[in-house]
Symmetry: C2
Subunit: 381 residues, 2 copies
């Protein structure tokens, strides 16, 4: 009775864990929630009357202009008519899947990669091919052999402070990746929700700004720098891709909510934007540093990690390799939540022994306690 | 390079006309825009802080409760856990398409039907089979033969004040339709955005409330009774269908914007809701009556129509049958916009000579002038 794709429909383990992780008394390193203390106090009362009426599928013209200006400042050559406002950047994954994926199409992803992207691509019956992430970028030899062997429809990359690994491609890796995409004319979906959450002032030109030939889509979000509850994100597309994406958006939900778009515009054109962003980065930098110190004191002998220069996550590799999925339930019972790393791999037999730990949501004074609970679960399981 | 479905991706003629129709000086009978004067003045300042954070894919628990209570009052047997809050009811079409439609699946639709539903089903490569609408409901003989011949995955019906025809199924038609769906176990997607825009107090039990056996999805919207710019709608699903729909929603955009959900809840639980709705109905009833009078004076000799008991549209049949699509451009040049009827039919060779005219958006004092402009175009073309 259902469509064939429904066989490939999985629930997000993250969103299922979230309910358990939000129980009182649970210290949660599981989600990717921005800290509630980081949200501004918007002045809703100044919302113009026009936000009540139907709007354009492409998004508010002024917001599209502001997003394009911001992107040009990052080096992306684009105009406002290449911008499509989204109902959160998750929607971009849905629209790009519709644009490119037929059943059994191949999609190239980082290994590990964003869980909800895997779910979305698989729902459209894609075969996801992983390319291992190294400390500073992709394993280029595997990248090229995957492209040759599987002829993917596009590559999905999160070059800056990746979820889950925290990896930030260095400049050389960005150039190499762009050259490889150009060599094969392979379309790029560059997803950058964490780009602004940069605590160490890293040089990170968008890969799409380095492309000469390959078509590209760049995605950003207001969820991490403003408020996720608004559900406002955006994509910017190569001129050859924007028209069908706008039509796909139209069929998906007509347009994005206008009060949220207005607040995003208000954020972008605020004179205080640099200070607000610096404050936000300072807030998260402190938490990142506190979590790094807590990890050093509690986990140094049992796991390895890189301190991320941005984003929201530490990615731990246990020295004693084991499947971390069976640890989740005992951890929740012990009052601590984490994300098993296995879920983030495209491979049917994922590498074992990785954990994703979010540092942004937990008060610093609870971090050591949470890690001690987690360590006990690891030791007793 | 693109997925096969992109060959079936069409733009909404409505949304393309909208831009032209909003030029100064154009009297627009084209869109389905609620009158700006009908919108309330919400108190944004009372929005609770929690709306800033990520929310649940299913929607806010209190809003789901309020929607379920409202539906039960209409006769739909349901609980809050069968409610899924949507980013506008267009999103329901996307999710239900994903749930049921494989390439070449058949979908049963009214003839004529909602244009954006046709676009959405076709994007998922459905073959849409039309069943003619009569004055009070479906042509049941054709309905049954279409079900037998094409084994559709579901039936998409808009029983109350249908877009574009204004048709409202009478009680007998609702019972006959439910019995036919039950006979074949055919799932129903019942789309009711206009249900509350009832100017003549019509008895209209939801068809899904009359079903014994067939699975069903009922859709509603806050766009017509509150504000479309919020992009908040909902579906209520048979217990066998709600779990995959929630997962599809999760993959599509994580969840619906929370400020909009909060305002929808505020509307539903307001003590003044009955008075606000009565005021809105009065506002539109006046416009409906003014448009009926204007039509009677300007079009009685060249067209036929039924005065609709609700909704936003008059559906005209020209006495002299002709393709109305070539009239659109001259009409816009003459300062009046309308929707050619041909676009609303699933058939490859649609019936000719229908026009959809919206009466809700135009000030009553401009209606006669707009119709006179349209008549001149008809006469000179």
């Amino acid at each position: 009775m259902f469509a064939e794709r429904i066989q490939h429909l999985t629930s997000s383990i993250i969103r299922e864990i979230l309910a358990a992780a939000q129980q009182p008394g649970v210290i949660s390193f599981a989600g990717g929630l921005p800290a509630a203390g980081s949200f501004p106090e918007p002045d809703w009362s100044v919302l113009p009357t026009y936000v009540k009426q139907y709007g354009m599928s492409e998004g508010e013209p002024e917001l599209r202009e502001a997003i394009a200006a911001d992107a040009r400042a990052k080096g992306i050559r684009c105009e406002a008519n290449q911008v499509l406002v989204l109902s959160g950047s998750q929607q971009g994954l849905d629209l790009v899947s519709k644009l490119f994926i037929d059943p059994h199409s191949s999609v190239l992803v980082e290994s590990p990669t964003y869980l909800a992207a895997l779910q979305c691509f698989r729902l459209f019956q894609a075969d996801c091919q992983g390319v291992p992430l190294k400390a500073n970028g992709l394993d280029m030899a595997t990248f090229e052999s995957q492209v040759r062997d599987h002829k993917p429809r596009f590559a999905y990359l999160i070059p800056s402070f990746q979820n889950p690994s925290g990896t930030c491609y260095d400049q050389a890796a960005r150039h190499e990746t762009a050259a490889m995409l150009d060599k094969y004319g392979l379309p790029l979906l560059e997803d950058e929700p964490y780009c602004e959450l940069d605590y160490d002032n890293v040089e990170k030109p968008p890969i799409c700004s380095l492309l000469q030939r390959a078509p590209w889509i760049y995605q950003g979000s207001f969820s991490k720098i403003l408020m996720p509850g608004l559900r406002v994100g955006y994509l910017i597309a190569h001129p050859s891709l924007i028209a069908p994406l706008v039509r796909l958006k139209q069929a998906a939900d007509l347009h994005t909510n206008r009060p949220g778009q207005w607040l995003a515009l208000d954020y972008l054109r605020s004179a205080e934007k640099p200070q607000r962003l610096a404050r936000l980065q300072g807030f998260y930098r402190e938490r990142r540093d506190a979590f790094a110190a807590a990890l050093e004191s509690e986990f140094a002998d049992i796991a390895e990690w890189q301190v991320p220069s941005g984003g929201l996550f530490f990615w731990l590799k246990l020295k004693q390799v084991r499947d971390t999925r069976p640890l989740l339930q005992p951890a929740l019972e012990a009052g601590v939540a984490f994300m098993p790393g296995e879920a983030f791999f495209a491979e049917e037999q994922p590498p074992l022994g990785y954990l994703r730990l979010n540092f942004s949501h937990t008060e610093p004074e609870l971090m050591v306690e949470g890690l001690q609970r987690l360590r006990k679960v690891l030791e007793s399981a």
